[in-house]
């Protein structure tokens, strides 16, 4: 513990060895099992970013010198991170200001200033933690807001305020659902993550590869393999549920809702092309040369 205390530089921020030990104990309580072995505890403590942990806790306690150090290291980065996350300068500015206020601790609880930095535990780098917190705030605040559109803009653009057509409830064969759930249930976490990130979130192969620490080509091959394997398993599952192979493949290829949308589109186009053709012909004849 003394070695960790010396390594962390906690003394320069006014932390005694007892206070430092209390911080580590708090982190241990949060991430270790109640009766964790001493080796596991030691491994956790050694893996922590101690210097950054002490800095964050000193800032949370209002230590001026710690704040100076924090600002020198991270002030510019906060705004750069916000720009990278929010993409728009106004939103980025607001995001960074909000996070800055939370880090500084503008709210009080029981007469004590509450700083978000007090929740940093040193598992990852402080910079990475700041980025994660900012991303979390962005996801919570901005992506869940509905975009407000000016009525003037809409009328200028010619947008019509039509009622949203209510889709008929999709009738999906329950056998297809259960066979699909069965096939998805046997996937491991990494495979499921790769499928979800690519097909649901629209992440690129490079992004997924970076997250998992794999090569992009590895992810590409994995996706191909998973998609083919899932199809094969679902078809096999449907066959067990009484479908023929052809029926099973058709069930996977065709979605009832897609078909109904196509029909709607087709009908709309036909009526538009043939609107009152006879009346147009009469009008053309009446205008004539005269």
């Amino acid at each position: 513990m003394e070695e960790l205390y010396r390594k962390s530089g906690a003394e320069k921020f006014g932390f005694s060895s007892g206070q430092f030990a209390a911080i580590l104990e708090e982190v241990g309580t949060r991430f270790l099992a109640p009766k964790a072995a001493s080796e596991e505890t030691r491994a956790l403590y050694v893996s922590l970013k101690l210097e950054e942990l002490v800095l964050a806790r000193a800032c949370a306690a209002g230590h001026e010198r710690a704040w100076d150090t924090f600002l020198v290291r991270y002030r510019e980065k906060l705004y750069d991170m916000a720009t990278g996350i929010a993409r728009q300068s106004s939103a980025a500015r607001e995001l960074a200001d909000g996070i800055y206020a939370d880090l500084y601790g503008t709210t009080e609880r029981d007469g004590k200033r509450v700083s978000k930095l007090a929740s940093y535990c040193g598992r990852g780098s402080l910079e990475g933690w700041l980025r994660t917190v900012m991303a979390q705030e962005f996801v919570n605040r901005y992506r869940k807001q509905k975009r407000l559109v000016s009525l003037d803009e809409e009328s200028e653009e010619g947008a019509q305020f039509t009622a949203k057509p209510s889709d008929p409830p999709a009738v999906v064969d329950p056998r297809v659902e259960s066979a699909t759930d069965e096939a998805l249930g046997v996937l491991n976490s990494e495979d499921r993550y790769v499928l979800s990130a690519y097909y649901l979130d629209g992440r690129t192969l490079a992004e997924i590869a970076r997250t998992l620490g794999r090569h992009e080509s590895t992810i590409s091959r994995k996706l191909d393999k998973l998609a083919k394997s899932l199809r094969k398993q679902i078809v096999a599952g449907l066959a067990l549920r009484g479908m023929s192979r052809r029926q099973a493949e058709e069930a996977l290829e065709v979605d009832v809702r897609d078909v109904s949308v196509n029909i709607r589109k087709h009908l709309t186009q036909k009526s538009g092309a043939q609107t009152f053709p006879e009346k147009k012909a009469e009008a053309g004849a009446a205008d004539g040369p005269g």
Binding site: E94, G124, R192
Partner: protein, 424 residues
């Protein structure tokens, strides 16, 4: 890429498990791949089901620099191939030899008595003159030859050998000379000392004290070089602090005292309310010694900040009853109005060195970093809310940390020189 059937995508999305979201610490450690295997698997299992956490991890990851300059990449092999050529290799060797030879020649021909030269970066005062050199000559059992003899010896040594003279800090210690051989060293020493004999003996370090007159005649010893600038030694040298404090704005010359163990002079900003000033205004007196000494007594280099500080030294700032910013350079005897972008209505002012803040009605706030020559308006805002209240008090103990107090008891603080603000 193989397409995933729509039903599979829907079922993938639908089977999300409502687990508690991982701590930001864990997500960060996951993104940085610093989690243990068990924890990594737990977080990955959550991410496989939680779209929000997947998005957070994706946003939080640093974008790698994908724009590798194609030109640099393609040119690198060509450049390396060219560098492998013998021409560049031998050219580099020749350049190194030329640089070393030039340095040696410069050292040989450099006048030894450069008096006191304070290196811009070195924290010590380097001397190339040992006050006891004559003692050294006699201690070696040598006699000082006449002028002709001196010339002969100097010419011979310049032809035959090179001597490195290393003068080590601190100034109190005797300088040390590193020699190649015993006999040659003695000759080299003699040569250097003979050269020194030809010049007037510079005064020892102790003589450059506040009470002692400067050394006569030798032009190089009548000035002190600090950071490349030459400052004449004032004949009637006074205490440096007194001189500097009384120098005021526009002082054309400065007195430098070179002492071997000067106490460290720090900066101080004194803010006081004068009895003459109205109770609602704030008057500030700035005192600053621009010549900082380090712990070992050496002078640190002068910076632009020091020059500005020297220019604004001794200035007092206040606001007049009609809201004008005023400055006094004679200790408060007379005051001159300082135009601040044509504005008025100032009620508070704070100054630290040449960093001046002036605030007033309706959140009016201006900042100058050059002693009032130029002003920039600052508009503090916090979470999108601008400061609009009347500023009644400003406190800036240094250039970065500051606090504004308003008439409605708001406190606005900054820790980065006004770039960002927090309201309490």
């Amino acid at each position: 890429m193989e397409q995933l059937p729509k039903i599979v995508q829907e079922r993938l999305q639908a089977t999300a498990t409502p687990e508690p979201h991982p701590d930001p610490d864990l997500l960060t450690a996951f993104a940085e791949k610093s989690l243990a295997t068990r924890e990594h698997a737990q977080v990955l299992a959550h991410l496989a089901h939680c779209a929000d956490c997947r998005e957070i991890v994706s946003l939080a990851q640093v974008e790698e620099q994908v724009e590798v300059p194609a030109i640099a990449a393609s040119a690198a092999p060509a450049r390396l191939a060219w560098m492998r050529g013998p021409v560049l290799r031998w050219g580099a060797v020749a350049a190194c030899i030329a640089v070393v030879a030039g340095a040696v020649l410069i050292r040989q021909h450099r006048p030894p008595a450069q008096a006191v030269k304070i290196a811009s970066k070195a924290p010590t005062i380097a001397l190339n003159q040992d006050e006891t050199f004559s003692d050294k000559v006699s201690s070696r059992g040598m006699t000082v030859p006449g002028p002709e003899g001196q010339k002969e010896i100097v010419a011979k040594l310049e032809r035959d050998q090179q001597v490195k003279l290393a003068v080590s800090a601190p100034a109190k210690a005797a300088h040390s000379v590193r020699a190649q051989a015993g006999a040659k060293q003695e000759l080299a020493d003699s040569t250097r000392e003979l050269k020194l004999l030809n010049r007037p003996a510079p005064r020892p370090l102790a003589a450059l004290s506040p009470s002692a007159p400067p050394p006569p005649s030798a032009p190089s010893s009548s000035a002190v070089v600090v950071g490349g600038q030459s400052f004449p030694l004032n004949k009637a040298a006074k205490d440096s602090k007194t001189d500097i404090a009384n120098a005021g704005v526009g002082s054309a010359s400065e007195t430098v005292t070179v002492v071997s163990a000067a106490p460290e002079m720090g900066t101080s900003a004194v803010m006081a309310k004068t009895s003459n000033a109205p109770s609602t205004t704030q008057t500030v007196e700035v005192k600053r010694d621009p010549f900082r000494h380090n712990a070992s007594g050496g002078l640190q280099s002068r910076t632009t900040e020091d020059v500005s500080a020297a220019a604004a030294l001794g200035a007092r700032w206040t606001t007049s009853p009609d809201g004008q910013v005023q400055r006094s350079t004679d200790g408060g005897k007379t005051w001159q109005p300082v135009p601040v972008a044509g504005q008025s209505g100032f009620r508070a002012v704070s100054a630290y060195q040449s960093d001046i803040w002036a605030g007033g009605d309706g959140g009016l706030l201006y900042h100058s970093s050059d002693g009032g020559a130029h002003w920039t308006q600052v508009k503090p805002s916090f979470l999108g809310t601008p400061l609009t209240a009347n500023i009644t008090h400003i406190e800036f103990p240094d250039t970065r940390h500051g606090k504004l107090t308003t008439s409605n008891q708001e406190t606005w603080a900054t820790m980065d020189g006004g770039a960002t603000w927090l309201k309490r």
